[in-house]
Amino acid sequence: MRRLIGLALCLGLALPVAAPLAAAEANIPILVPITGFLSLEGTSQRNGALLALRNAPAGVAVVHEVSDTGVAPEVAVNALERALSRGKVTAVVASMLGTQMLAMLPVALEQKVPLVTVSGTAAITERGNPYVFRFFPGDAVVKAAHVRYATEELRARRLAVIYQTTAYGQSGRQHIAENARRLGLEIVFEEGLETQVRDMSPVLGKARAANPQALLLHLHAPSTALVVRQAAAMGFGAPIVAGSAMHQPPTAALLEPAELKGVCAETNASPVSGGNLALERFLEQYRREFNSEPDGFALGQYDGTMMVLEAVARGARGPAEVTRALQSGSHRGLAMTYKSDGRGNMAHSAQIVCYDGRTRIPRVVKRYDDIAPPSN
């Protein structure tokens, strides 16, 4: 009898703990650009988030919907408001397009809901908004690695820079210029390209005429591939260090291995390059689920979404508690360990990968950890 009473007491104490665990629900809408010029990166972002939701920790029931935000800021804002109107949202996987993120920030602030993104646009974490969390190293981090690699490893002192005229491109250009100035490097040529520009021979011709020692690219995927292909065809001469778009397997797939020879790129991680068992498992599952190759954006979004899910699994209920968990906690992800710098920048490491001209799988040649962004 005493044993039965003891068991009943134990169950009575245990039930209030176990019941909320079993009922923990994470409502995570995925609002990403699946069409438009950022569709390649947006699809990776979506896939990374979906994979994390499928691998949600035990005891977390996931509710999600996927909405295409295209490339217009108002479409992203409408999608966010629609998702928020449908019930209590735990966190939002938010577009990696900088202009869309900037438009969504006021809504997130008003509704007090965390946005988890892999947008590289620096400005999104410079507005003092406590509800934005970036799981891809921002431009302050990756552009520091970008420029440092060019000068420390390639010994380049004269740089040519070709960037996109989008918010992403202009943000990257600004950080490249700041890092170059800090390191005493000369930018001998720079030009912005719209995403619709197809023939790169004029800009490459002018860049070559400026006699740079390295060409730095900060372009979206199609423009990156066009520049690399046309640079190879014209025998550009100077080594190319591209932005993160180049490390994406679909970008490399557009080019012949020979065209890629000597081309390097900055990124947070290159899942196809392998590295450890957990990463190999991610790679295998991603290929199985989506019949495509993952990139650093997918991995960053996977890690970010998983940090939200683990916070829920540990007892965070609702957006306020999840926000606090993201602000104060740290998460050992597949790409790196994430921790907020107080402004929502969670990722502070970057890698440089390079192609050897024989395969389309890049090799990690340099890793930069704990890059501190310059103080504002």
């Binding site: 030009e191 995927a221 591939a225």
Partner: protein
């Protein structure tokens, strides 16, 4: 210098195929086909799909692309034009936008969002003529597009079908009164326009890649070409397409072609791609104000 001009002419030749189809439908129906850019995208992705199954040069796939795209053009006319032909032209304008969006989303679902490279027409590499190095693909595009435009000219000028097409374009009611089956001719025009848009897609897909969202950029180019060249004028559309492409490629290269321009204050900004785009649209505005009928256009057509 020569390489820059060859690149510009190659781009212009592909734009010309696109603008040609655009203006043929405009003449035959008095309606703007806003799906024309998405038909270029569809042709490019079709070439990608075919080359995956049969890894042969693009020139071998071209007849098949023309045929499949012609069928798609027929389908477009049945869905977006004939049910609305008695409505104001704006109804067709909207319906073709709708079809374009459907094509874009279908392509996205079938192929995914990432850019893809189509097959080269004959093969990659370069042709060296003395000190001049020219891209083989660019040269192939010029030759193939030139042949297709010449074929169009021959059909329109020297065949009964061409005379019917021209008669329908000039005066639909009169053509109908003379016993021409106007609906068939219009359906044929859609097929022809789609086939040429598909050819442009194949030509562009190797060097400039293709993504499901490319259509909006191409339709803008066709629209500007037709406005600059002359609303309703086939020759004007071809001229407009060539001028746009040459401007896009040659203007930013001017400091290379004329080195003294590099010393002009603000040359880097003045001869940038961004400035080229601004000047292109300024030229469009200037044409609209000073010569609304375009460079070779007729004055009687109505603009959508």
């Amino acid at each position: 210098m020569l390489q820059v001009i060859v690149n510009g002419v190659a781009l212009g030749a592909a734009y010309a195929l696109l603008a040609l189809g655009f203006v043929l439908i405009l003449n035959a129906t008095s309606a703007v086909n806003f799906a024309q850019g998405d038909l270029v995208m569809a042709g490019g992705l079709l070439a990608v799909a075919l080359s995956t199954t049969w890894p042969v040069p693009g020139i071998v796939l071209l007849p098949l692309v023309l045929l499949v795209m012609a069928l798609l053009g027929l389908g477009l006319s049945l869905v977006a034009y004939f049910p609305l032909k008695s409505r104001p032209p704006v109804a067709v304008f909207i319906s073709t936008i709708a079809v374009g969006i459907m094509l874009q989303n279908t392509a996205n679902a079938l192929f995914g969002a990432e850019p893809r490279a189509g097959p080269p027409l004959l093969g990659g590499g370069v042709v060296e003529i003395g000190p001049v190095v020219l891209g083989r693909q660019a040269l192939s595009i010029i030759v193939v597009a030139g042949l297709l435009i010449a074929a169009q000219y021959a059909v329109f000028q020297h065949t009964r079908l061409g005379r019917r097409l021209r008669a329908t374009a000039q005066d639909r009611e009169m053509a109908e009164a003379l016993g021409i089956r106007v609906n068939r001719v219009i359906a044929g025009t859609f097929a022809f326009a789609a086939a040429y848009a598909g050819a442009a897609g194949l030509l562009l897909s190797n060097i400039f890649f293709v993504t499901p969202s490319d259509g909006s950029n191409y339709i803008l180019k066709a629209y500007i070409a037709v406005v600059i060249g002359g609303w309703g004028s086939i020759g004007g559309a071809l001229l407009g397409a060539l001028l746009i492409a040459l401007f896009e490629v040659v203007f930013p290269s001017l400091p290379l072609i004329l080195p003294f321009l590099g010393g002009v204050p603000g040359a880097a900004w003045l001869f940038s791609q961004t400035m080229a785009t601004i000047l292109l649209y300024l030229a469009l505005l200037a044409v609209l104000v000073a010569r609304p009928q375009g460079l070779l256009g007729e004055t009687v057509q109505r603009r959508a």
